[in-house]
């Protein structure tokens, strides 16, 4: 999956998960409120009965005030009475905090029911009845929410999976089309490039005049560039089918050889190629692959360099670095430089496959790639092992 595909998928999944979560949360809150109201309505019938009983008992005490002033109590509920100025007259409540504005409410596990009697026995303008909620309904609600919300989330995930496929299909189709096009073009390029290269090699430079020599050199450079592109495309198409043929390679020799190969192309831009060799290091690797890796890095360093710039290849004990004096890469683009078909400079030609190939080879041989880049100063790519 390419960087852009991953980014699209990431954005879609984040948005989809957030939306799904919000919907589920909203449904859960509504369901919870509904269940709580339903429970309270069911309890209200019982609480009405208790309130009626309490008012009857208050009436009895009120009528017999000269005989008793004992506040009526019950084992089924606790109660309190308030006067019309909301001043407490008497209370047996467990939860002393009473909201006289609300008729029926639940605080933690305590339910309060407020009733206003028609006659204010003992001055009771508000009668409060309190019962303890066993919260069995709450466990049931949590269980149901867990099952239903879980199932819904699972269904949303499945829908999300199909939606993401639907979303990514046009992008995938475009990439597939591009790959097919490259495959076909590569196939068609093979014969003409080979013919041009073969015929240039066969030309006898001694019998050519100066003007023709210059023209032939130009054709040679153009042919080299085409050949390089052809190699890259072939590698990309055949990468997984090519078996590596690892051997011990002298890197110094190989780098010199590759710099020599790119000399003519560098000359066109007046870019000087330098080589600092600090070791006679050899590594075991497939020659074609390390050549491809170096070619791509050197080619990029020349291609994105300024006129009369320089490219320096440094060989150390544990690394190869290719440093250029080019335009550099923007910090935000650094992450995506290894993605296939990713290009940040359309002024130069190319398909955006060079660094992808470098990354594929580096991964195969467990080589680390470091890129340091400063805009308008240059880029340094280091391959470490």
């Amino acid at each position: 999956m390419s960087h852009s595909e991953k980014q699209t998928l990431k954005n879609f999944v984040s948005l989809y998960a957030l939306l799904s979560f919000s919907i589920l949360l909203l449904i859960s809150i509504l369901y919870f409120d509904f269940e709580r109201d339903f429970m309270l309505r069911k309890k209200q019938v019982l609480l009405e009965e208790y309130a009626k009983e309490l008012i009857q008992n208050l009436k009895y005490v009120h009528i017999n005030l000269d005989k008793t002033r004992k506040y009526p109590r019950s084992k089924n509920y606790k109660s309190a009475i308030f006067d019309s100025s909301k001043k407490l007259i008497f209370s047996t409540l467990e939860n002393k905090k009473v909201n006289l504005e609300d008729k029926l409410y639940k605080t933690e596990n305590i339910i309060h029911f407020i009733k206003q009697p028609s006659s204010y026995y003992l001055g009771s303008y508000y009668v409060v009845v309190e019962i303890v909620d066993d919260e069995l309904w709450l466990n049931m609600v949590y269980k149901k929410l867990f099952i239903y919300a879980g199932s819904l989330f699972f269904i949303f995930l499945i829908i999300g999976y199909f939606l993401s496929r639907l979303f990514l299909r046009p992008m995938r189709d475009a990439i597939e089309m591009l790959e097919h096009f490259i495959q076909d073009t590569t196939h068609e390029l093979n014969t003409p490039i080979s013919t041009i290269n073969m015929n240039i090699e066969m030309l006898d430079s001694k019998i050519l005049d100066e003007k023709s020599k210059i023209k032939i050199d130009r054709i040679k450079i153009a042919s080299q560039t085409l050949s390089h592109l052809y190699d890259d495309l072939s590698f990309l198409l055949l990468n997984h089918k090519v078996i590596s043929n690892d051997e011990e390679l002298n890197l110094k020799k190989l780098i010199e050889q590759r710099l020599n190969y790119f000399e003519q192309i560098a000359n066109v831009k007046k870019v000087s190629l330098n080589f600092i060799c600090n070791t006679e290091q050899s590594i075991i690797i497939d020659k074609k692959k390390i050549t491809k890796l170096l070619d791509n890095l050197i080619s990029n360093a020349i291609k994105y360099n300024k006129i009369s710039g320089n490219v320096t290849v440094i060989l150390d004990e544990k690394s190869i670095s290719i440093k250029d004096s080019g335009q550099g890469i923007k910090k935000r683009n650094l992450k995506a430089v290894f993605d296939r078909f990713e290009r940040f400079n359309y002024a130069q030609g190319g398909f955006g496959i060079g660094l992808h190939i470098v990354n594929v080879i580096a991964k195969e041989y467990r080589l680390n790639i470091d890129i340091e880049s400063k805009e308008n100063i240059g880029t340094k790519v280091s391959i470490r092992w």
Binding site: K87, I89, S119, G123
Partner: protein, 109 residues
């Protein structure tokens, strides 16, 4: 000096108590319905201390059948009392004493 203040306070408190005793309780003693029952009827109708006291003052200053908390047969039998001759301050003091003496709030257990 301390003695003077003490006696002055005692005199004032005796005078206050006597407003209710002399102007209210003394007449109600001859009544078949005890005086506390009137307050309980006020509480039954007006609930809070403030509302009861306001209603009592209103009634005592200008007693009418409509303002009475007593039932119809009671009014038919005993009629409506005469307008109180006490001043507003005296009336308020007498009602405060009446409330303190027979209130329900704080006496339940």
């Amino acid at each position: 000096m301390v003695k003077k203040v003490f006696f002055a306070l005692l005199l004032v408190s005796t005078l206050n108590a006597s407003i209710f005793e002399t102007n209210c309780a003394s007449c109600h003693k001859s009544f078949p319905v005890e005086i506390d029952k009137f307050l309980y009827r006020y509480i039954l109708k007006y609930s809070s201390e403030e509302s009861v006291k306001i209603a009592l003052i209103e009634y005592l200053k200008n007693p009418t059948k409509g303002k009475s908390v007593m039932p119809e047969p009671f009014i038919l039998r005993f009629g409506i009392k005469k307008r109180s001759t006490l001043s507003n301050i005296e009336l308020k003091r007498a009602i405060d004493d009446y409330w303190l003496m027979y209130k329900i709030n704080g006496t339940l257990y």
